[in-house]
């Protein structure tokens, strides 16, 4: 189990430390989110390669309404 | 160049400028934001009937944009050497005019004499490029002038942008260059030989000056050479084109008119006083924030009538001979002098001219801005 910060709040991750697992855990559709890991934008291919570590800060963002 | 580029070609508006009806003129006067169409209508003969109204509106707009100030400057001819062959000019290479140029010491003396009567804004002039008066000479003179005059502009041969930059580095702030006429065929006829025969090179010179870091350009066409409506509409387009691209630059307009000259060149399209006044007022209406300039080529009566009414910048106490300021008191000035480029009509000294302006509730301004805190041209971000 990994303790991460996701969207500014503590999150216990119980998966295999991949982005895909984290998103599944959150209930987020991978095709509908943008991700930052420790302040860095995670582009498509990088997502698969990444292994999350304890203390990582993840931002998961979607498009919402705005002017 | 035989055909004008589309951005410059005034042909679409030429017919209106020749044949506008009284109704079209009234409509042009009614507009709150007059543009090219309105300029064309106001250039047409039918607009002569509305001269007083044009004058009133020009007065109002001049006052709104420039207050009651009239900016004053004076020309200093550095040299009358010229390689050119302009049919209409007293300095053409085949004229038997004695040639001379001011050496640096003489330039200093002339400038000191000009400062003595209040001049702080000088326009340095030469003819077409010659060995005697080329870029090096000019750059040196600009440097000398910039040391004693807050504003130094030049009216000289066209040059590449890099050369304009050299002048800018020496302290030059502006370039005046008249296309003479925007009609390529007539232009070719008037410019018999030499580099000035290149219409396109001259047309592009103001843009090169701005690219070289100069901040102001003055445009104009020599009224009388060609159809005034054609040249004035093209002049409008030329200004608009430059302002669109060089949005930080100041662009001003002059209205030189062919005047009597030793050698007897006669204008084929003479512009009388009423027409010249109307041209200037039409430009004031259509380009309310553009400085409009009138020189001492024009008579005292005409200048008095136009000062502050459309015109907000004027030359004063001019000599159109080489030098001519540093002379003994009481010596005659250049009227009728064969060595002058053109005859000065208004020979009033600065004090008299300023007295006239004040009598008309106008304020003569010799200096517009100080360059004390400005960076050298190269240091500022290029525009």
């Amino acid at each position: 189990m990994l303790t991460l910060t996701v969207n500014g709040a503590p999150h216990e991750h119980r998966g295999d430390a991949t982005i895909a697992a984290l998103l599944a855990e959150l209930g987020a559709d991978p095709g509908r989110v943008a991700i930052m890991l420790n302040g860095r934008i995670l582009r498509g291919a990088d997502r698969d390669a990444v292994r999350l570590a304890a203390g990582d800060e993840v931002e998961v963002l979607v498009f919402a309404g705005g002017g | 160049m035989t055909r004008l580029p589309e951005w410059l070609d005034p042909t679409p508006w030429l017919e209106l400028a020749h044949t506008a009806t009284p109704a079209q003129v009234r409509q042009a006067l009614a507009g709150a934001e007059p543009g090219e169409r309105e300029l064309a209508a106001l250039l047409s003969p039918a607009a002569d009937a509305h001269l007083e109204e044009l004058a009133r509106r020009a007065l109002s707009l001049t006052r709104r944009h420039f207050g009651r100030t009239v900016s004053l400057y004076a020309p200093l001819y550095l040299s009358n050497y010229c390689s050119g062959g302009c049919l209409y000019c007293g300095f053409a290479a085949d004229r038997r005019t004695p040639r001379r140029r001011l050496e640096p010491a003489a330039v200093r003396q002339e400038l000191a004499a000009m400062r003595a009567w209040g001049c702080q804004d000088v326009l340095l002039l030469t003819g077409e490029r010659t060995a005697q008066a080329g870029l090096d000479y000019l750059a040196e003179c600009v440097g000398i002038a910039a040391a004693v005059m807050p504003s130094v502009q030049v009216e000289v041969f066209p040059m590449p942008a890099a050369d304009y930059r050299r002048l800018a580095d020496q302290g030059c702030t502006g370039v005046t260059i008249y296309q003479e006429t925007y009609d390529p065929a007539r232009y070719d006829h008037f410019h018999r030989w030499g580099p000035k025969k290149d219409f396109a090179a001259r047309l592009d010179a103001p843009a090169r000056a701005l690219a070289g870091g100069l901040r102001q350009v003055g445009l104009g066409a020599l009224l009388g050479l060609s159809d005034p409506a054609f040249d004035m509409l093209a002049l409008y387009r030329h200004l608009r084109h430059l302002r669109q691209r060089w949005w930080r630059a100041g662009v001003s307009l002059s209205f030189p008119r062919i005047r009597p000259q030793a050698g007897g060149f006669q204008a084929e399209f003479p512009v009388d006083d009423r027409f010249l006044a109307r041209i200037i007022w039409a430009f004031r209406l259509c380009l309310p924030d553009v400085p409009l300039v009138l020189s001492t080529r024009e008579s005292p009566a005409f200048r008095d009538g136009m000062a502050g009414v459309g015109i907000n910048r004027m030359s004063v106490n001019s000599r159109t001979t080489v030098g001519g300021y540093a002379v003994a008191e009481g010596a005659a000035i250049g009227t009728g002098d064969a060595a002058a480029q053109f005859e000065v009509s208004d020979g009033r000294d600065a004090a008299s001219f300023c007295a006239m302006l004040r009598a008309r509730a106008l304020e003569p301004v010799f200096k517009n801005a100080d360059a004390a805190y400005r960076e050298p041209v190269g240091a500022a971000a290029a525009s």
Binding site: V62, G65, G66 | -
Partner: protein, 273 residues
Amino acid sequence: MAAIPANAPLPADPFRLGDVELPSRLILGTGKFSGVEAMLAAIQASGTGLVTVALRRFSRGPGAADDLLGPLATLPNVRLMPNTSGAMNAREAVRAAQLARELSGSRFVKVEIHPNPHHLLPDPLETYAAAAELAKDGFLVLPYIPADPVLARRLEDVGCAAVMPLGAPIGSGGGLTTRDMVRIMVRECSIPVIVDAGLRAPSEAALALELGCAAVLVNSAIAAADEPARMAQAFALGVQAGRLARRAGLMPQGAVGHAVATSPLTSFLGGTA
């Protein structure tokens, strides 16, 4: 009903941002709608080809921001223009834009940096810095700015695809309070000028187009209307009317009063005046 469909483009009057041609001069914001259904209905009624979206943190449960990517994907002719709202400075705006591009694949970005949460007025300095960097990075940058003609020219010079001066503060419904400045901007800029924020009524949108603006961006006026879809249609018609009028050439406006000289100004000229 009019013979011309509300969302039909004028003949030979293409509206382009960069190299992208858009079918409508009305751009829609997607905020403040009562729900996704209302938003989609308004977008379709407007005929727009471009809508703005904001980046928000994903979350589940009450108060969660609705993901719009899915719903908007059902409108294949509508492109996305992510905005950078929430960013307080250029660095954050650039990061938001890059994140958004990852997600949307769209080259459009509305640079929106308003550090004061009360009046939401844009920060011109941060906006310029962000716009310059994003334009270099290949974005089609539409900066949201005060109606400042000099700032607009500077943004044009650094490669923005358009400039978006505010009509009035966001959400204020103040109308086209900046019309005099916008007029100058239209004259001075070669890139499209798009009024964004503060428009309340279709007549104001028409006015913006009559003044020479290339398009308008409308959000609150539509989302907060009683019937957003109908209001969207009304705005589309207003934009079309304004553009058509501009193309048709409005008659000259009357000149403002001028000073009257007490004595004739032309007596020095001779002849009859």
